[in-house]
């Protein structure tokens, strides 16, 4: 009950600030928190990146592994995105298999990478129907201060962009892994942008306190050319029809800002 009282008071405070175009931490309604991207942080991974959005910290590691394709896509590599909400990241996270929130996060990040065609999966096929590259994207939530969706996507995309994959020599059905490495076949730089709705206000990059009192959120995935490749509404509230279009317009602009963060670190 105490938590509930605090969140009601907090919600009122957030709404009153929003009326004046401000947030708890002094940001404007459509501002991101400070974002930092650092790549190549784990030498043993084939690609890695730590992304911070405010205090939210996400580490993503990429591993490439040779394995079998799915039977319905024999000519394509396999992409697998997983998310771990580590118990060290928040007092509310517990050890154990991924819960519905972790699964949703992983599946939305998977969707934006897959549907934007970021990785040319056909080029990840070595021996059709038998041997393909499997791309493992493992998202590690290290510190949870809200907006895990956008930060995780940015971290996964940065890790993939910075990754390298071993060269191979294919003779018939034999695959030999060489000691040299190349860039994986990457064709797109997708981004996720989440808009939170609190009362009648739409906020970019909600922090944890804002998330705890939001009505609902809408996450948009954009390809490099500005087209849409994923949407996910979350949390048990609703959006008015106009809100959806407003949120889309804000997200579209903000997606370019996120992409420029990638270019600013040379990705």
């Amino acid at each position: 009950m105490a938590e509930k009282v605090i969140s009601t008071v907090k919600r009122q405070q957030i709404i009153e600030l929003a009326q004046r175009g401000r947030r708890l931490d002094g940001r404007g309604l459509e501002d991101f928190r400070p974002i930092s991207i650092e790549v190549g942080v784990i030498d043993k991974a084939d690609g890695s990146a730590i992304v911070k959005m405010g205090s939210t910290t996400i580490l993503t590691g990429i591993k490439y592994e040779i394995g079998e394709p799915f039977s319905d896509t024999p000519n394509e590599g396999v992409l697998s995105v997983n998310a771990e909400f580590l118990p060290l990241a928040s007092p509310t996270f517990e050890p154990g298999p991924p819960d519905e929130n972790a699964l949703e996060l992983a599946r939305v990040v998977d969707r934006v990478i897959r549907e934007s065609g970021m990785i040319d999966l056909e080029k990840m096929c070595l021996v059709p129907g038998e041997r393909v590259w499997i791309t493992w994207v493992d998202i590690y939530v290290l510190d949870h201060d809200g907006n895990l969706m956008d930060a995780s996507a940015l971290s996964a995309v940065a890790a993939l962009l910075s990754s390298t994959i071993p060269n191979t020599k294919v003779e018939g059905r034999e695959v030999q892994v060489l000691n040299t490495r190349v860039k994986p076949p990457i064709t797109n730089k997708p981004t996720l942008v989440t808009i939170a709705k609190i009362d009648k206000y739409l906020l970019v990059d909600p922090c944890l306190e804002e998330e705890s009192v939001l009505d609902c959120r809408l996450t948009f995935g954009f390809s490099q050319d500005g087209s849409l490749c994923a949407i996910q509404k979350g949390a048990p509230g609703y959006f008015g029809v106009d809100d959806v279009h407003k949120a889309f317009n804000i997200a579209k602009v903000k997606s370019q800002e996120l992409r420029s963060k990638l270019s600013s670190v040379g990705l």
Binding site: E100, L103, R114, I231, P236, Y238, V241
Partner: protein
């Protein structure tokens, strides 16, 4: 295993704008709604959307197990979306998949805005959805069924939740996406709303939309939901007509 090469050569939209099952682009499949389908559940419904077949049951508000999940000021809504092993081409393991766990979550979040959970503190309302046969748009058909089952259980609601998916197939927008259109199409956008409140409670998309396509798809989805909504209301009225007649005859008599 289906033969991919063979199916890729099938045209999904004919030259006169008809889809593989003969529908127009903005036409939904035949929608059959049955209320009170199960005896034991507090509320239930059966939905057929073309070949997609869904049964939904509601239990509650009822005492909650485990008790520590109970909330002092409102009910909790729980939802399980589950596919029968025989509902798809290749047998699906009955263990809950990642997809089913995500869909259970988004369906719950699509229904919750319609309920007055604060009326039933310390209880749970449990919604169970079984996909008996899947031919596309199963989450939308599940929402249609679950919302009717909630109404059948006598749980007060702000509005029914109607749902429909819009897809993009061979560059054109189509209403009520079926399996083959989802597999070989360019985009799928499941959508749910409370039509009389004009608010969106589920919105997902995967694939590729330009900004203009997204706006058109959104409009098409709203129109589709209005059609579904009319059928939902009609089904409830028909099912409860005898009870209503009984009540009014008692009043008169």
């Amino acid at each position: 295993m289906r033969c991919l090469m063979m199916e890729k050569t099938i045209k999904l939209i004919s030259e006169d704008g008809r889809r593989v099952d003969g529908r127009r682009l903005d036409e939904i499949r035949p929608l059959t709604l049955k209320i009170g389908f199960l005896k034991n559940a507090d509320g239930s419904a059966y939905v057929e959307l073309g070949r997609t077949k869904i049964v939904a049951a509601v239990f509650g508000p009822r005492e909650l197990h485990p008790k520590h999940l109970a909330l002092p000021d409102r009910a909790i809504l729980r939802c399980r979306y589950h596919m029968a092993p025989f509902s798809v081409d290749v047998r699906k393991s009955p263990a809950p998949s990642r997809r089913e766990i995500e869909l259970s979550k988004v369906i719950r979040e699509a229904l919750e805005p319609a309920l007055f959970l604060e009326l039933y503190p310390r209880t749970s309302i449990d919604v169970f959805v079984e996909v008996l046969e899947a031919d596309g748009s199963t989450r939308c058909a599940s929402i249609i069924a679950a919302s009717l089952a909630l109404a059948d259980a006598g749980i007060p609601m702000k509005d029914l939740v109607a749902a429909i998916a819009v897809g993009k197939v061979e560059g054109r927008l189509v209403l009520d996406v079926m399996d083959i259109e989802d597999k070989y199409g360019e985009a799928d956008m499941p959508f749910a709303m409370m039509p009389s409140k004009k608010v969106v409670t589920l919105l997902q998309m995967d694939g590729h939309f330009t900004e203009e396509e997204f706006k058109q798809a959104f409009e098409l989805a709203v129109k589709g939901c209005e059609q579904v909504y009319a059928k939902q209301k009609q089904a409830l009225r028909e099912y409860y007509a005898p009870s209503l007649a009984e009540v009014s005859s008692i009043k008169e008599g």
